[in-house]
Symmetry: C2
Subunit: 305 residues, 2 copies
């Protein structure tokens, strides 16, 4: 990663973290126990990939960071809720996340469920409250963004992907037949890919892009999402817990299908590189290949955690 | 209940049930196991109080049922998700609901959590997709409604109320001091009242009401919400499981504060009647006391389950 891009990521992360802190519900209007639980997980220090992608998409099409920031924050709140619920004993039963005990370990399952519910709901409150009253163009864009995000996060997208994952062996003892490569790809496209794609689409929409550019950015982001998952699987096999901040080798041990398990590590890494090639061609078609978006794609593939 | 109002409820319920069926995600785009879990709980046959209140509010201010139906359905999806999560072992640990085993009993905790997440998310997808593209007035109203519903359902409202309930003794063994009457009222205003109030507000907004009428309808609905909770507590003490469709006396046994426990049954029933008086005065101030809204208030207080 060149130092210019590293500085870019650092600056965007600082802006996003400040906006997230301002967006989180606080006591006394929100019960303190709930506010603390939500804050614990949101401030645990993730990569902020999705909000950065959202802001970079807005910037690529000539929009402002301010226009895209509510969508960027809402998506990170939704991502955080999904991690909290995914870590629950009834789901993946993970006790460590981003180097800290998971929320249900420190706050109990009930408050972890509620904190997730609260973050998901607050994401939509944040979006609905963002456009200035009377700005019809901004309102219409935001309504479209709410639809894009809800569709990507819901039963057709992320929650649907979680259901496929759980059905494939998550917490059941009566394990069904192993997942095929095609089913694995569908599961990840929903579970991880849909929200990454929506992050880029939301930024492009709020940035005022025309439909052609939105479509190309979505295509590129779908490739980024696939690359992200492939590399995630590779790091799960190769990584050490200290670097990952979570239990390494867990997916493989749980008998979950992974890209390295199906294709081998080298072929999996080559597949991730091919995703970047396809993303670049999509962005070239609308003259956006020189934007920050490809830097983000390379960061996804080259990361070590 | 007079036969005219009984026919009104019957007709509205049929319309709402048809709209809910059409709104529920279906296979194969949504994984079948998830679609079935969501459908199980949504079609379990509740009273449909919230969506009926939403439609009646729109009608009271001269709006159409069609304009308010997406909000009515979204609110019922959110109400259903809250019941699913509230029934989980980590929360109230309820095994019966509306006369049937709760979702986590039949589908497992993991799918119950996901079905709840899916219903909550799909509610916002439904709202965002409802206005016709290009209808700026309808889009602006819908964005306002999304904000009202998300605020009422989230950490400041329903989820916040659940957190207060859980903190007061829900599933903990280390029970804190008993809740005061004021704290009990705050908890219920958030947990139950906020979404009932938002149901009425959403209907009035989509019906095109002016802010004065919206405010009066919200005031009346807040009183309905309080009356609803008082009567719920009374029925929990008096009721038989066959009529209630859930475990009777459970709240009292769990040591949760209830209105009859704090005030006695007769005083609690009188308090509910006083709510109706205040609601009627609020509606009279905007000449809406002759609408269906007061019939709904009386239904809330006179119901036996």
């Amino acid at each position: 990663m060149d130092s210019d891009f590293a500085a870019y990521l650092h600056a965007r992360r600082a802006d996003i973290d400040a906006a997230l802190r301002a967006a989180l519900p606080a006591a006394p209007e929100c019960p303190a126990v709930l506010a603390e639980a939500m804050q614990y997980s949101v401030t645990a220090g993730g990569k902020r990939l999705r909000p950065i992608l959202c802001l970079a998409s807005a910037e690529a099409v000539g929009g402002t960071q301010a226009a895209a920031m509510p969508a960027a924050c809402a998506i990170e709140l939704i991502h955080t809720y999904s991690l909290i619920h995914d870590d629950l004993p009834a789901m993946d039963n993970d006790t460590m996340r981003r180097g800290r005990p998971t929320l249900h370990v420190v706050a109990g399952e009930g408050f972890a469920i509620l904190a997730g519910d609260g973050l998901l709901t607050e994401a939509f409150a944040l979006l609905a409250g963002a456009p200035e009253s009377g700005d019809a163009a901004a309102s219409a864009r935001m309504l479209r963004v709410i639809g894009v995000i809800a569709h990507a996060a819901g039963p057709f997208g992320m929650v649907g992907g979680q259901a496929l994952d759980l059905a494939a062996g998550g917490a059941t003892t009566d394990r069904p037949a192993p997942m095929s490569a095609a089913a694995l790809r569908t599961m990840h496209a929903k579970k991880t890919g849909a929200l990454i794609r929506a992050s880029a689409a939301a930024g492009a929409i709020m940035g005022g892009a025309h439909d052609g550019a939105i479509g190309a950015i979505e295509t590129a982001a779908a490739e980024f999402g696939l690359a992200f998952q492939i590399i995630d699987d590779v790091l799960d096999v190769e990584g050490a817990p200290a670097t990952l901040g979570k239990t390494a080798g867990k997916d493989a041990k749980a008998g979950k299908p992974t890209y390295p398990a199906v294709y081998g590590v080298l072929a999996a890494r080559r597949m991730a590189a091919e995703c970047l090639g396809r993303a670049e061609r999509a962005l070239q078609s609308v003259h956006l290949a020189k934007s920050r978006l490809m830097d983000i794609g390379r960061w996804i593939v080259d990361r070590s955690h």
